[in-house]
């Protein structure tokens, strides 16, 4: 198993996950972050760190969310590693509030 970032990250792209990842396995593009399943050691530390609950253990994903396993794998290979926290996307805090989080 591994952990995956889901579309809940899109529109926020908080990167709190990056600072608690022990193995620097987060990648990012303009939309969101992705977890490299080859490097993730399954510690699960990023799950509670995400302010919008975008990260989940792959085995706990709902059927319609299963696609994110493959998307994380593919996009992690195509995008650069991120090693330190960035500012979230504009409007992230408003979106978080709107989600009731």
């Amino acid at each position: 198993m591994t952990y995956v970032v889901t579309d809940q990250c899109t529109g926020c792209r908080y990167t709190e996950c990056v600072t608690v990842c022990p193995v620097e396995c987060f990648h990012l593009d303009d939309e969101m972050t992705y977890i490299d399943p080859e490097n993730c050691i399954d510690c699960g530390g990023c799950v509670p760190a995400c302010p919008v609950g975008a990260i989940q253990a792959s085995y706990l994903l709902a059927p319609e969310q299963q696609k994110w396993i493959e998307i994380n794998r593919r996009r992690a290979a195509e995008t650069p590693v991120i090693t330190s926290r960035l500012a979230p996307l504009p409007g992230a805090d408003e979106r978080k509030k709107a989600l009731g989080l």
Binding site: V20, P22, V23, D42, G44
Partner: protein
């Protein structure tokens, strides 16, 4: 090679020590780091805390090895700071000193009978099965069929799982040989995993709880008498992970036991005392499963009890201690003495914030401390010229070989080779003398 502008000593080569080194070496300042470690081997709780049957977590050591290869990094093993060299000596030699000394002491609960033989700290057992030199000579009495583990966190799960796995389930892990041998003779068949609160209030992670579903010879179970009404219902505030843990426990409660071993998850049991003569014979609890009803006394007969109710930092001579939090007295990573900042002294990891979080939590924690160091560096007094070289060479002479990262690589290769013979990823050296002798012999051979 030019002399770095700043020199920082980090004490403790566990995760937070390595991450502090990484943050300092990546900073936009010319910093060199010496990472001091009491043992000749690095990685702290990744080597001595992570359970042997969790090899994937141990892959984090590849990151630590990359940090060790960064320019400006030096590993200084085999030095007990506070005993072999004083904090004062380190302060004279470095601009800043960071204590990343972890939380090596188990917390006690202060109940009658706690000191009876057979009442053990979970952390001692963990150190023992992981081959920590401080714990290798411990002996555990596995002659009884029942063991009790008090605490509802992931360490308690580790202890129960290692007690209940078959020798074949452990044989191909890096468990210490002495532990595998003793556990193979164990008669323990029943482990009671006891918490004061209910199923919705444990600190188990779902992934680790789920491992109990797939043990070869053990069924997880729950005593219905320990449950309050609606024990497995949860409020809206529950995230997926906590719901998954609760669902697993609910499933365990319906499971029909067919295997020869059993892990009983028990709830709402408040420890009262431990009874016995020479050694513990029973653990006594107060159970309250019905609001307003009188407490019930529950006595569990056992010769082996593990306390897994937290850890605290080992105090260091000359460093103020925060007894209530069980850490070096600090404010956001800066060490404090009598409510004032002790300039040039810092802490990170469990010795800063207590034993919480996952391995990576220590990365964020170390980064936070290093941010403060970088702010302070220019205002800290410069060390005595030559003091570091004198210090490190005197340490090297003590062991007859410098216990640096190259020495660790030699020890590491030897351990992997020893393990290979038995189909294990490694067979750890469990004594400091053997570690040093290996580094010395191979060093000469090279």
């Amino acid at each position: 090679m030019t002399t770095p502008q700043y020199r920082v000593a980090i004490v403790g080569a566990g995760p937070s020590g390595f991450y502090a080194a990484e943050a300092l070496l990546r900073a936009q300042k010319d910093v060199a780091v010496d990472l001091f470690e009491r043992l000749p081997v690095p990685y702290g709780l990744v080597r001595f805390g992570v359970a042997p049957d969790h090899p994937k977590l141990k892959q984090v050591t590849a990151v630590f090895d990359r940090i060790a290869a960064m320019p400006g990094f030096r590993f200084v093993g085999g030095v007990d700071v506070g005993t072999d060299i004083s904090i004062a000596a380190l302060r004279r030699a470095y601009h800043a000193v960071v204590l990343a000394t972890g939380a090596s002491l188990g917390r006690e609960i202060g109940l009658p009978g706690e000191k009876l033989a057979g009442n053990r700290q979970a952390s001692d057992f963990v150190g023992w099965y992981n081959g920590h030199p401080d714990h290798r000579d411990l002996a555990f009495d596995f002659s009884g069929e029942r063991a009790v583990v008090i605490g509802h966190g992931n360490v308690a799960l580790d202890v129960a799982r290692i007690l209940l796995k078959t020798p074949d389930e452990l044989r191909r892990t890096d468990i210490a040989a002495h532990a595998l041998e003793a556990l193979a003779e164990s008669r323990v068949r029943d482990v009671h995993l006891i918490g004061r609160r209910g199923p919705s209030e444990t600190r188990f992670s779902a992934k680790e709880l789920g491992e109990f579903d797939t043990l070869t010879a053990c069924d997880p179970g729950i005593d219905p008498a320990d449950l309050r009404a609606d024990a497995f219902s949860h409020g809206d505030g529950f995230d997926i992970e906590r719901k998954a843990s609760l669902d697993l426990l609910e499933r365990f409660s319906r499971r029909v036991a067919t295997k020869e071993r059993r892990c009983l998850f028990r709830f709402h049991l408040e420890p009262v005392c431990f009874e016995g003569g020479e050694g513990v014979q029973s653990a006594v609890f107060r159970r309250n499963c019905v609001e307003g009803a009188a407490d019930e006394c529950i006595r569990i007969d056992t010769k082996l009890v593990f306390l897994s109710v937290g850890r605290r930092t080992s105090p260091i001579e000359g460093i103020a201690y925060d007894g209530s939090r069980g850490v070096h007295a600090n404010r956001g990573g800066r060490l404090m003495v009598h409510d004032r900042i002790d300039h040039g002294l810092y802490t990170c990891g469990w010795s800063k914030r207590g034993p919480q979080g996952t391995i990576g939590t220590n990365r964020a924690c170390a980064l936070d401390t290093v941010e403060k160091i970088l702010v302070d560096l220019d205002s800290l007094p410069s060390p005595e010229p030559g003091a570091i070289d004198r210090l490190v060479s005197s340490i090297g002479r003590r062991h007859g070989v410098p216990l640096d990262f190259d020495a660790w690589r030699i020890i590491d290769s030897a351990e992997v080779a020893r393990g290979c013979v038995n189909g294990k990823p490694r067979e750890k050296f469990v004594s400091v003398d053997d570690m040093v002798a290996t580094a010395r012999e191979r060093g000469i051979a090279c």
